[in-house]
């Protein structure tokens, strides 16, 4: 009986009725969670294959055997790797990511404030970049094939192929050293005025924006051009609709999904850029914390930072996919 129902369901699906949207989205979220789990295994395995004894590293060469044994027991170092992984994951889920090997502080405390700083930087950058990138992407699509479009194409290719630290150093050289308009380091004091805040954030935000702006503009243009080459737009053009109206009224509503998808995907490039930008401007964010932790081989801190970045990344890709799913019913047939 149950088999017959299952077979019936199977047949109905094959005929063409797509599974309900909520189920598809739930499936996509489940996949993301699975990926996150796989990522956590990779991060843990990657940082645990470190040669050498962690207890020895913490206590130094002069430690007594008893102290070493005690610390190993406290850190669960005598347990098999899979058990330590579960311990670690359990702790992570409860906001307890262990203690820094360097200064003994709780990782959660160290990460907390830095995370907020990084999120603020990312937020400012997003607010500045998205409208600008959409404007350039859409205008390039409207005037595609013109000199403007070609110039935008060349410039954006050049921008995506240049390391972020080139922009960062050039920006410091021009605006902080030559023109002396802005500070070279981004240090915000408590109780800083709005103007001071603006000056401190100007260079890091501008550098970070540039890194994702080109990507976003290119993807926006591509999404829109794709729609513009469809037959209903051609029909409208033959009817005599003006080019600007053609793009804004006819193409853009249907391109919203792909464009939003492009925006979310481009934002995931923030993750690479933020590492460089925070280092150049000595910005007290999470990425700077992670780079410092890597140079001192402070593994619990590296693990926690890596997991936060990977979660953010997966989240952005998930949002991009869900938007695409909502916007394009054809993707639901699969």
């Amino acid at each position: 009986m149950a088999e017959a129902i299952a077979a019936g369901g199977e047949r109905r699906r094959r005929i063409g009725a797509p599974p309900p949207l909520a189920a598809l989205i739930a499936r996509r979220i489940a996949i993301s969670l699975l990926l996150l789990l796989a990522v956590s295994v990779l991060v843990f395995a990657g940082t645990e294959m470190l040669p050498g004894d962690v207890a020895q590293m913490i206590l130094g060469q002069g430690a007594t055997p008893q102290a070493l044994a005690g610390l190993r027991a406290a850190l669960h170092l005598n347990e098999p790797a899979w058990l330590r992984y579960l311990h670690w994951l359990w702790g992570l889920l409860h906001g307890n990511a262990g203690h820094s090997l360097v200064n003994g502080m709780s990782v959660a405390t160290l990460v907390g404030r830095r995370l907020i700083n990084s999120l603020r930087l990312a937020l400012f950058t997003t607010v500045v970049t998205v409208p600008l990138a959409l404007l350039v992407g859409i205008t390039a699509a409207i005037w595609r094939g013109t000199t403007y479009d070609r110039v935008v194409n060349m410039l954006t290719i050049a921008t995506v192929s240049v390391p972020e630290f080139l922009f960062a150093t050039l920006a410091v050289l021009i605006f902080a050293v030559r023109l002396r308009w802005l500070p070279a380091l981004s240090l915000v004091m408590r109780g800083a005025s709005f103007l001071e805040l603006l000056r401190a954030y100007a260079l890091p935000v501008a550098t970070l924006s540039l890194a994702i702006f080109a990507q976003m503009a290119r993807m926006t243009r591509a999404a829109l051009v794709n729609i513009l080459s469809s037959s209903y737009v051609e029909m409208a053009a033959l009817k005599g609709v003006r080019p600007i109206r053609l793009v804004l009224r006819h193409a853009l509503p249907n391109a919203l999904g792909p464009v939003a998808n492009a925006v979310a995907l481009s934002l995931s490039f923030l993750l690479g850029g933020v590492v460089i930008v925070e280092t150049v401007f000595s910005y007290p964010g999470l990425a700077k914390l992670m780079v410092d932790a890597v140079s001192t081989r402070d593994m619990p801190l590296v693990q926690a930072c890596a997991m936060i970045f990977c979660t953010a990344y997966l989240l952005l890709v998930l949002v991009a996919d869900v938007i695409a799913l909502l916007a394009n019913p054809r993707l639901r047939h699969r």
């Binding site: 990522v39 990657g46 050049a158 995506v160 390391p163 990507q215 280092t279 890596a306």
Partner: protein, 280 residues
């Protein structure tokens, strides 16, 4: 895509942009090989008492934080920037293409297993992934090459697989199957010759990504270690000179930009189009 196998090679003339970009790329690779022979001063030779000197006749690109000749340093640095990125890109592109074809030719089980593995790898942000690896294993050249190769294999895999899946449904592949050719013969003899252009384009893209990734790592002080320096590392070691406006900071970064922009422009202006752009 036409159903006909492409045997003879059609040659379309290269555009001026492609020619110019290609010339720059060739020049960069020549530097990686002959750079040390062209350099006037040794890699570590301190030749001036002035640190962060501006450009001059004696030192065309100025001097660095120890008073070494920047022109010679940049010439030596090409070996590391290109010499480490090239094998990594070859590995990534080679492994990705082979595995992609394998997934398309062999049955669904292998395809599913490979595709899920690649999906997992691609869901790690690249710079964060390499930071974790470097934290655990240090940054020897072997680790750097292998890390970059692993990070960029999934991208090549996805592109190669999607083309190979299309190709393996064509009549000439079915004919080869009917003749009783094995999987390897079909991959190398039937499928690969018909996807040379996309694979080469993809290889160029991977090379650019890897140059940028390794330069960023070096810039963070976590890539090629002293006494050797690639161009990214030179930006880092001279960063103190930024406030003095020293060319030593900007020149190596510009060198990277020249290399990566010209590779990208070359790919973008190759005849045959269909270049897979960025990401995925």
């Amino acid at each position: 895509m036409s159903d006909e196998p492409i045997r003879g090679r059609r040659r379309a003339p290269l555009s001026p942009v492609a020619l110019a970009a290609g010339a720059v790329v060739v020049a960069c690779f020549a530097l990686a090989v002959f750079g040390p022979a062209l350099a006037l001063h040794g890699e570590g030779a301190i030749v001036s008492r002035h640190i962060f000197a501006p450009m001059s006749a004696a030192f065309p690109l100025g001097t660095d934080y120890l008073g070494r000749d920047m022109l010679s340093r940049v010439l030596y640095g090409a070996r590391f920037t290109i010499g480490v990125a090239l094998p990594a890109a070859l590995l990534a592109s080679g492994a990705g293409t082979m595995l992609g074809m394998l997934a398309a030719v062999r049955g669904r089980t292998l395809d599913a297993a490979l595709s899920r593995t690649m999906d997992t790898l691609i869901s790690l942000p690249t710079l964060i992934f390499s930071l974790v690896v470097v934290a655990a294993l240090g940054s020897s050249i072997t680790v750097l090459v292998l890390t970059a190769a692993v990070i960029y294999t999934p991208g090549s895999y996805r592109i190669a697989r999607s083309i190979a899946v299309d190709l393996s449904a064509t009549d000439f592949v079915k004919a080869a199957r009917a003749r009783g050719e094995g999987g390897l013969a079909i991959m190398l003899g039937e499928i690969l010759p018909n996807m040379v252009m996309p694979v080469l384009t993809d290889f160029g893209l991977r090379f650019v990504f890897i140059v940028l990734l390794l330069s960023s790592l070096s810039f963070l002080g976590l890539g090629i270690q002293p006494p050797y320096s690639d161009w990214g590392g030179m930006v880092r070691e001279n960063i103190e000179g930024l406030s003095a406006g020293a060319p030593a900071v900007i020149v190596p970064a510009v060198a990277i930009a020249i290399l990566t922009i010209s590779v990208n422009l070359l790919i973008d202006n190759l005849p045959g189009r269909g270049s897979p752009r960025r990401g995925e």
